[in-house]
Homo-oligomer: 377 residues x 2
DNA sequence: CTGAAAGCGCTTACAG
DNA sequence: CTGAAAGCGCTTACAG
């Protein structure tokens, strides 16, 4: 096996990359949409007024069967498609949702997005994404404004300061639901929001490690959304307290494996460390890599558990113990709530969201026997 | 360490999940948008005609300084925001792009999406996502139609049959750019598209493994977008041919680690297998896991290389040799091309897109010595 | 069951 | 430099 470096020499090489642009019959300058047949064209073809066409395409009941047929035939023949923007302008409703998020690729965010998308598609809503690049207040405000200008509903993922700021910055009167950390107290004022119980999940993972015999559990944290103690941190701390274990200092790990790797290097140097809980699976990946490079076996000498149960975690070696959270379900619930608000169909009733589930795999086990621990000092 | 099963017993547990819905001042029934001040309200407040307001918000030069000031002040005071949908309807341009894709979470797709998003944000375009759930022709057509109805530009990721079908189904006259596999022949007719040279990338990775001394290289493939030989497969095969090596049968792996795992189990049983190229890093993860469970060391007995260089690949143990492709850059280029088409600003000139780069890490090495190989039979 | 009118909030020529 | 008119493609009352 090669050396210990994580990113060994890269042999850059030649490769070809292509791109081809042609300007064919790409429509008229500036104009971006089709200027296909309108409701009036259909009306003319079917020999009715355009209001009747409107009734047909809206499924209005009071239309004589024969004229409905004529209209439908004309629609079909002309290839008529109703303009979504005209519909939105005239009716005031847009059947669209835009998701405000600081990230689109980390597993939790991506899975929530996917859940929202599924439900939006089912309800024939179009889906927009607005990325919060910065947590700076005016930058956040600008993104929120632009999203609001779209005229549809909003879902804000408030797992980080940018998202929390965005949720706060949404103008009153707009339909919005927040996906938030377990709230100690209502976060966004008088609005609907959804969450999973991260606190309970962290509590359980920590208890699992303690039950294996570890004296304490170290915690490598993801960034928190506010200055308050994050739910995951709180759950970890509570489990330690209940077990009478001392609580080590929290190590900040960031979101990705690089941050986990850095944290892992620090922890690997301390022989007293036998169990590490990580704020997400990417952090755990980096921590395990660092432990490996330091020659500390997982789970033989150190147990590691992650958070989120990302798709690859079951296939790592060792496979990763992790807490599975149903982010896709959370996203579906968020959209469902938004839909209720926008359509006023229901009184915004709670949806079922599945509970966190600890998945025990190879990366967690009992601590090394006393003598071993002593010997390694 | 636990048993060999990849997904050992899951200890499901209790947890709490919360959701809270309130109906506060959520706006009027049905109406989804703000009905804030309009251009006419501003005009009244500034004591000008609404056309003048239009000129001001569009930065038209011919407006007297003093009246511009008055209008701006009124805008500020009333909190006026120009309606994007009215703008789109009246002007015919929408400054929006919707991405048609079969997937949003696999690394390549997600990174392309991210690149498109970055450039869209820079150009103040709003971004929509339309997911192609099925490759069924009528289903694809429906999604394309709905996306087209939005009135903006389209980017189609055509890495799979659904995407290829969508690209084909886009009505003529709409601004669209395709992100495609290395085209042998122009795929979508008279339209702009972008690609990376997957063929060259696969060729190089295969050559790398052959150069280490392996007699041949097995290939676990991602699904291809068409019935034609996929570029990655072609590159792999060409490298084998040039080296005079025999080409084993391609093994279909799907997109995720589970497929890689299944493929790996088959390959692990054949002691003649000493090198495996995988169509993406997730497949490689599954393959390596399967080899591990079969007791075959990586890279001691079998070398494995992946494709795409996903963020976690450098932190696996062994760290993964992979071919890095600049998907984010590809996404940025795709949007740039679309922007050029829509705004007619440039003659759709090629953008620079970086070349594939082989990253050699721990998972690839020389084959085992002859005797070892013989002994293991 | 169906038509004629007014309007959603803006832009685009056309006048002055 | 600034106003008055017509219209983008639809919906929503209002009439009959």
């Amino acid at each position: 096996m090669g050396g210990g470096a994580v990113k060994p020499g890269k042999k850059g090489t030649q490769g070809e990359t292509g791109e081809q642009g042609r300007t064919g019959e790409q429509g008229k300058p500036g104009k971006t949409g089709k200027s296909g047949p309108s409701i009036r064209d259909v009306a003319a073809a079917a020999d009715v007024s355009y209001q009747t066409v409107s009734r047909v395409i809206n499924g209005h009941p009071s239309v004589k069967g024969s004229t409905r047929e004529r209209v439908l035939a004309a629609i079909d023949e002309l290839g008529f498609r109703r303009s979504a923007t005209a519909l939105a302008l005239a009716s005031g409703r847009s059947r669209s949702v835009t998701v405000l998020t600081a990230n689109t690729t980390h597993y939790g965010y991506a899975a929530i997005l996917q859940g929202i998308e599924e439900e939006a598609r089912r309800s024939a809503y179009s889906l927009g994404i607005a990325v919060l690049e910065s947590a700076d207040e005016s930058a956040v405000r600008a993104v929120v404004q632009r999203a609001a200008d779209t005229g549809g509903g909003l879902v804000v993922i408030a797992y980080d300061p940018a998202g929390v700021g965005a949720l706060r910055a949404v103008p009153a009167g707009l339909p919005v639901v927040g996906v938030v950390e377990t709230p100690a107290t209502p976060p966004g004022g008088d609005r609907p929001w959804v969450w999973t119980d991260d606190r309970a999940a962290a509590h359980e993972a920590t208890r699992h490690l303690l039950a294996l015999g570890h004296e304490t559990v170290h915690y490598v944290a993801i960034p928190s959304s506010t200055r308050r103690t994050a739910p995951r941190t709180a759950g970890w701390r509570a489990a330690l307290r209940e077990a009478g274990a001392s609580a080590p200092r929290v190590i900040q790990g960031g979101w990705g494996p690089a941050g986990g790797y850095a944290a892992g290097r620090r922890l690997a140097g301390d022989p007293a460390v036998t169990a590490i809980l990580c704020g997400n699976d990417d952090l755990a990946l980096g921590v395990i890599r660092a432990l490996h490079e330091a020659g500390r076996a997982v789970p033989g000498e150190v147990s590691v558990a992650g958070f989120d149960d990302a798709p690859g975690s079951a296939y790592l070696t060792p496979s990763l113990t992790s807490v599975r959270l149903d982010f896709a379900g959370l996203g579906r619930a968020a959209f469902g709530l938004l839909h209720d608000v926008v359509e006023q169909s229901a009184r915004v009733a709670p949806h079922p969201v599945s509970v966190p589930e600890l998945i025990v795999r190879e990366s967690s086990g009992p601590p090394p026997a006393r003598e071993d621990a002593r010997r390694s000092r």
